[in-house]
Amino acid sequence: MDNAALIVAEVVSAIICFVLLRFMIKPYRTTGESRYLGLPLGFGFLGVSYVFMGFALYFESFIFVDDLKWLQLFTQAYAFAFLAATYYFSKKPPERTRLWWNITYAGLIFALVVSYLVVFEPPMFGLPSYKTVDEYFRIFNIICLAYISIHTLRSHVSRPDPKTIWIPLSYLLLGFSQYSFLIWSIDSSFSAYVGAHVLRLSGLLVLLFVAYQAFYGTREASPKEGIRDEEAST
């Protein structure tokens, strides 16, 4: 695949993630609950990881290109970890788990800082080959995305609504994208590499579509009629 096309794919992915970040921060700003911070952090880190990859592809002969690839690997894994943590804690009663989600987020941020330091201090910590670590990280990403897909799918099944089916689909697309990257990493299949980019862009576009529909889609009489009568009764 042409390098320019790959750079464009990374840039477009990064832009979509940063647009999504603007939407994803709203649940936290409205509810003030730190357990929803994982959404903006997750999409922010995901966007940054695509920026790193874009830079690594653009500056191929740059001295820090390997470091950028390592950073991309870590950042992307933390992005999915933050998203998975958010979904995990969203179903738990907030008063009982507040301490745990704070510890989890603090732990993830601490691990992120440590891993960045490890990348820039290779003489102290001998790193294994990038390809090997890349494969492990892809597997980790697939696990996180599979968890989120199952979580959102169960949420959809418990209260079927045509509006809620898109999100499990988007996370599944992102998961299959990671799987395709894994296949590409193992057997260098060109079609897997192209497919991975297509699946990733499709997943991100579905997420963008959902966010756009929620905030700018056709609105009922304002304030929305009948929104959660059952919620009002709880």
Partner: protein, 92 residues
Amino acid sequence: MRKLPRRDKLKIYGDLLFILYSEAKKEKVVLTRVQLKTNVPFDRLKTYIADLKELGLILDEPSLKLTDKGKLYLSEYQTVLDFMKRMGLAYG
């Protein structure tokens, strides 16, 4: 019997505003009916109503009703809840 989840203050305010918005279509807002729908003790309901008045989200003249600021807040609050539902996130 299904155990009802605990609501934080913000969710109670949201529910209360929605109920007041729905009740405003009727001739007069009856507090007992609001209390029944919000499922909070009467003394606490009065405190919440006082808080919402102080925030400029509701008016008490001649009957309880949402101000424009209250309607805007409710609309935005419900949009975010709808977004969270679409995202598969639970709240409350």
